[in-house]
């Protein structure tokens, strides 16, 4: 029997290793796997590389993980936002490394990994500082840079509803990076608002099929 449900947050994040690449879903305050990020503090993994759109806000979730000095490097498109105090402090002190990637390229690079491809040619960032050091190539009259797959050891994602097979649905713009991250990591862990019976999710509306999800934990919305 397939049953990807786990009983608590500690079980959900168990086994994440030092040095892991952790894909962390969400955009702004929507679809953030805050509880999973905080459970990682307890779990104890260090020297993490986190891939996320933002670098955490306030003191919760990813910000808490950074405050606990578990994140060596962050790969993101927009680290600064109102309340990204933890990141800014660490960055100013040189205690966290930043790799800046355009927002659509972060998600495309993760999809590239998920799809088993070796890389893709992108027109984004050509002629800018972010293209420096990248291989350039003209194809049919347009210049592209080569982008490489970005794969996670772990993905922490937030979804709305899930079932024991790991099928997931999302709500509105809380979908954001979560479905792509679920596909792009060896171990995908989801916090969901509600776990429903197998068969309760309409097969036509499942956004993340269970094949991409390894563990899920129910976490009523607060």
């Amino acid at each position: 029997m397939i049953d990807k449900r786990v009983g608590n947050l500690a079980e959900a994040v168990a086994g994440v290793r030092d040095g892991a690449v952790v894909l962390c879903g969400g955009f702004g305050e929507a679809g953030l796997p805050n509880a999973l990020c905080e459970a990682l503090i307890e779990e104890g993994a260090r020297d993490l590389t986190v891939v996320a759109n933002n670098a955490g806000t306030g003191r919760r979730g990813l910000a808490a993980l950074m405050a606990a000095r578990r994140v060596r490097k962050i790969i993101c498109s927009f680290p600064r936002s109102s309340g990204s105090v933890v990141f800014e402090e660490l960055y100013a002190k040189g205690e966290i490394e930043l790799e800046l990637v355009p927002q659509g390229i972060i998600s495309e690079r993760m999809r590239c990994a998920a799809a088993g491809l070796g890389g893709f040619y992108s027109p984004v960032s050509v002629g800018t500082r972010l293209a420096e050091g990248k291989e350039h190539r003209e194809i049919d009259g347009r210049v592209y840079v080569l982008e490489k797959p970005l794969k996670g050891d772990v993905a922490l994602i937030a979804a709305d509803r899930g079932d024991r097979w790991g099928n997931l649905t999302y709500r509105k713009s809380a979908r954001n990076f979560n479905p792509t991250m679920a596909m792009a990591a060896d171990l995908a862990i989801a916090q969901v608002r509600e776990i429903v019976e197998l068969g309760d999710l309409d097969p036509e509306v499942i956004v993340t099929p269970g094949i991409f999800v390894d563990r899920l934990v129910a976490l009523p919305r607060v």
Binding site: E29, P102, G104, T128, L130
Partner: protein
């Protein structure tokens, strides 16, 4: 009379065609949606996976799962839909948007755009979706105040700030003018009342050619 910020937004809104798919950058461009001419249906896209962005919700009606790229609460219009980030940037990068209206620090007379960083050493840089949008939408138009607060031109021969993309801007709306970027440089289409072409040239680093049918730039009180 120079236009107010809201009047710049009003002027840009007049050029949006019925049925257009449009992305509005953070800041000044966001105001454009308030001034769509009666009878036109424009579909606004937000990078975080919302197609059909509607007006801000009422005071207590905000849904934390429904935000725009600026992380402000929004609504969804009838006919709107949600996609994940990778599909959202497929729309953006793949030329599916008719137009992106963006803010800028500087625009060159080749159409180069600088709008992502001022290299302020106090803050970590953030690029967000700026580079994806700048190369992806069918047409890039910029809304910007003609000069900095200190009076320095923002319409230049060569951008001093780091580029977002090369040769992409097609039209610029400022408080003083509407200017097209052509293969021969800046073409002045409309000029605010109270300033003449030589006065405008003094506030513009790159040379301006006046269009044969140069018109006054007027906007209602908004």
């Amino acid at each position: 009379m120079p236009l107010t910020r809201r009047q710049i937004a009003w002027r840009a809104a007049q050029d949006l065609k019925d049925g257009a798919y449009v992305n509005l950058g953070i800041g000044l461009p966001t105001l454009v949606s308030d001034y769509i001419p009666e009878g036109r249906e424009i579909v606004f896209q937000s990078e975080n996976g919302v197609l059909g962005v509607g007006p801000a919700p009422g005071a207590n009606a905000a849904d934390p799962d429904l935000i725009n790229a600026g992380k402000q609460p929004i609504t969804l219009v009838t006919g709107g839909s949600y996609v994940h980030h990778t599909d959202s940037f497929l729309m953006i990068r793949g030329g599916h948007l008719d137009c992106a209206l963006l803010g800028a620090f500087e625009v060159s007379d080749k159409g180069d755009l600088a709008n992502w960083t001022t290299d302020d050493p106090r803050f970590p840089p953030g690029v967000g979706g700026a580079m994806d949008l700048a190369v992806g939408a069918k047409e890039i138009r910029v809304l910007v105040e003609h000069t900095t607060k200190g009076g320095a031109p923002r319409l230049v021969r060569r951008c001093q700030y780091p580029l977002t993309a090369e040769r992409v801007v097609k039209r610029i709306y400022t408080d003083l003018a509407v200017i097209d970027v052509t293969t021969q440089g800046f073409l002045l289409r409309e000029i605010a009342e109270g300033i003449d072409v030589s006065g405008l040239q003094a506030k513009t680093e790159a040379p301006l050619r006046a269009a044969p049918d140069l018109k006054p730039l007027r906007a209602p009180v908004v």
